[in-house]
């Protein structure tokens, strides 16, 4: 084995007296891919920032981070600037905001080159920038601006900036988390190629074990500022010595016990649904063009049935959700629930609306921070002609809270007293309180850490059994959908391209797009001995 390029030795970081990193040891050799993984708050990103010398100014670091013998922690800022971009490149999670919106992509890539050899002639810097973009699989004119590019293309620009000078170490902080699965697969391939062809070392930070299982040489698992387990990927995957590692793996491919699907007849019918959005006028007197987000979609959901809706961003699944909930009017087609229209004459029908509820993605944004739990979760009572008052209301609140695994005492707390997972439970309690027939889970577990996600999935399965509840589970993440649905629909560019029983779609997809999605989705190797 070659001598390590990066050696992190007993690195500890404290911020305002709070220990964020605790004696981290880590080495990365040239050409090696080392994955740092763990849940949010485990200290993965902080380790990366410490290596870049970009810790917040209030942070205090001890220990050693040596790059080829030079201790980066003690290096003065001026010399660190010479290392950043030249010896170490870094790419970030959010490609939409990582680029300067008012500079062309060419200028931004060339900046890395000019920064480290200021005397490079402009034309040569441009050529080098073009070449760096080409290496990242992007052959666009250098004069493009970031807003003209897709998320995946922007991430390629960010990577081009980081590798333009062929640094010896590349740090990638959740580089694909904000991307669609197909784009994610391409970016992961690109990163692997770059390490192979350029002998670059890669520090890959991700919360998603499946992403790194197939590409990392070694894995280090972090929990609350410590590395709890590390070793060659195959060994960590098979042995899972530390209980935390084991818990992470089990939660990652968690399949809740789904009770058998009751067959109680039809519930929801969507027939030929088309939704359009008006776009800004191109000229002052021009006709307003419109964008068709959902095009001629038909499907049904039976009573107590659990249906998944899968698709990448921009495929129209959010618009379809809004139409089902009566939040957006539909241009054509009908949606009926139990035979009654959700919309009549462009007005939502309250009698139908109270039978559908929703749980949103963001556990932090879906509650008014000024109200207490009891008021928050009883909001849907507004849909009832005769909402329960007094004791009846208190009983309903207590029941709903108990059903989602919280305590009736929580009714008087404010929302900030709850964690992300607890908030999602509250969101489910809010949806449940008027006993709907159908709940729409709109990316409801996407923002959660794996272990919390597993608990919420279990809760959904339990509730569907105990209340005979039907749900529509909307997600971009195929592996999650598989465990909690009876049937799935795959959506692309406003149309449903494939639907069928979940297992059948997963094992024998008929549409080419479904196959692409399934191939692109990273998955963990089967666990040894079955967990």
């Amino acid at each position: 084995m070659t001598a390590p390029l990066l050696t992190i030795d007993a690195l500890s970081v404290t911020i305002h007296g709070k220990r964020i990193l605790d004696t981290i040891d880590l080495t990365i050799a040239p050409g090696e891919i080392v994955a740092l993984t763990g849940e949010s708050g485990s200290g993965k990103s902080m380790t990366a920032l410490a290596t870049m010398g970009l810790l917040p100014q209030v942070a205090q670091a001890t220990g050693q981070i040596s790059l080829d013998g030079t201790d980066l922690l003690t290096l003065p800022e001026r010399r660190l600037c010479a290392v950043r971009g030249n010896d170490i490149g870094m790419i970030f999670q959010e490609p939409m905001t990582a680029l300067n919106p008012v500079q062309t992509i060419g200028a931004q890539v060339a900046e890395t080159i000019l920064q480290h050899s200021p005397r490079t002639p402009r034309a040569m810097a441009r050529d080098k920038a073009r070449e760096a973009l080409h290496r990242c699989g992007l052959d666009l004119p250098l004069t493009r601006y970031p807003h003209e590019l897709s998320g995946g293309q922007r991430q390629r620009v960010v990577i081009a900036m980081a590798i333009a000078l062929r640094p010896r170490l590349l740090i990638a902080d959740e580089p694909t988390t904000a991307l669609d699965v197909t784009t994610q697969a391409q970016i992961l391939d690109l990163l692997q190629d770059l390490t192979r062809t350029e002998g670059m070392a890669l520090m890959m930070i991700t919360h998603d074990l499946a992403v790194v299982a197939n590409m990392a040489h070694r894995i280090a698992v972090m929990q609350t500022g410590r590395i709890v387990e590390s070793g060659p990927t195959a060994q960590v995957l098979s042995q899972r010595t530390h209980p935390y590692t084991r818990a992470l793996f089990e939660a990652s491919d968690h399949r809740p016990h789904l009770p058998p699907r009751p067959d109680n007849g039809p519930l929801l019918h969507a027939q030929g649904v088309t939704c359009t959005y008006p776009l800004p006028r191109p000229g002052p007197f021009a006709k307003r063009p419109s964008f068709t987000a959902v095009r001629d979609v038909s499907f049904h959901i039976g009573r107590g049935e659990r249906v998944g809706l899968v698709g990448e961003s921009g495929c129209g699944k959010s618009t379809l959700t809004r139409a089902l909930l009566g939040l957006t009017s539909i241009a054509e087609g009908t949606i009926t629930l139990g035979g009654k229209a959700v919309f009549t004459d462009h007005r939502p029908n309250l009698a139908v609306r109270r039978r559908i509820q929703v749980v949103f993605q963001d556990p932090y944004g879906s509650f008014n921070p000024r109200h207490r739990v009891a008021r928050l979760i009883t909001e849907p009572f507004h849909l009832l002609p005769d909402p329960p008052q007094g004791t009846a209301r208190d009983t309903a609140v207590a029941e709903a809270l108990t059903a989602v695994g919280l305590s009736p005492d929580d009714a008087h707390k404010h929302i900030h007293a709850f964690s992300g997972g607890q908030r999602q439970r509250l969101a489910i309690a809010r949806a449940l309180i008027i006993r709907p027939d159908l709940i729409v889970f709109d990316e409801a577990v996407s923002a959660l850490d794996v272990r919390v996600r597993a608990q919420i999935l279990d809760l959904m399965a339990d509730l569907s059994a105990s209340y005979g509840l039907a749900y529509l589970f909307i997600s971009h993440d195929l592996s999650v959908v598989r465990g909690v649905t009876d049937r799935i629909m795959v959506m692309r560019a406003g149309r449903i391209v494939e639907k069928g029983p979940t297992e059948q779609v997963f094992t024998a997809p008929r549409h080419a797009y479904t196959r692409t999605l399934l191939d692109a989705a990273p998955h963990l190797p089967a666990s040894p001995g079955g967990a």
Partner: protein, 271 residues
Amino acid sequence: MSRNLILGGALTALFLGAAALSFLWTPYDVTALDIPARLQPPGGAHLLGTDHFGRDILSMLMVGARTSIAVALVAVGIGITIGVPLGLAAASRAGGWMDELISRSADLIFAFPSLVIAILITAVFGPGALNAILAIGIFNIPVFARLARGAALSLWTREFILAARVAGKNRTRISAEHILPNIANLLIVQCTIQFSLGILAEAGLSYVGLGAQPPIPSWGRMLADAQTLVSLAPHVALIPGLTIVFMVLGLNLLGDGLRDHFDPRLRVLRT
């Protein structure tokens, strides 16, 4: 509690207190002329000196504060009661014809040089405190409308608003129940700023003779009267000027302090 909040609150309270006190008691009668005692420097029998008619400056400032504060406060009231509902209505149907109408009208009012229109109004309808209130108040409407619209727009995309819509609440009710309480802090901070701008505007209008009319004392006219005397008795110009500065400073500090107290990221409008 920050330093700004305490200092600003204290200054504001001082001026509000002085104005309130003037209804019950002032050191001297503000209308009493005492020509032999004219232009006396501060200290002595008259704490802040006398003007060119021998009137007591402190008493005049106390009574003048009433006018300034009343004009600025009512003008802010006009801005809030008309502007905020308009802004909320515009945001609740963003992109609709009502939003378009309200936003364009706000832009249009902004395009009018406020002082010129204030002068126009007072000129056509006659000078006086009431028309000053109207003139300043009109320009507070688009400020609050824009602020409320902008803040409400970003809230309308939040999931708790979607949840309320799923719960069947209509837009008016959501605006009142969910949006308004969540933008209240911002509105309060903007109030202190508009209040201070109102004080300055009132001073400007009464300086050019279009504010409260004699014999009611006003800070702006005290400065206008002092203009020709500035080299003879600087205190008649300095003291009312400093009074305005401290009142406005107090309100601005109070605004900054409140903003830091609520949320340092609040974005107010400054023009």
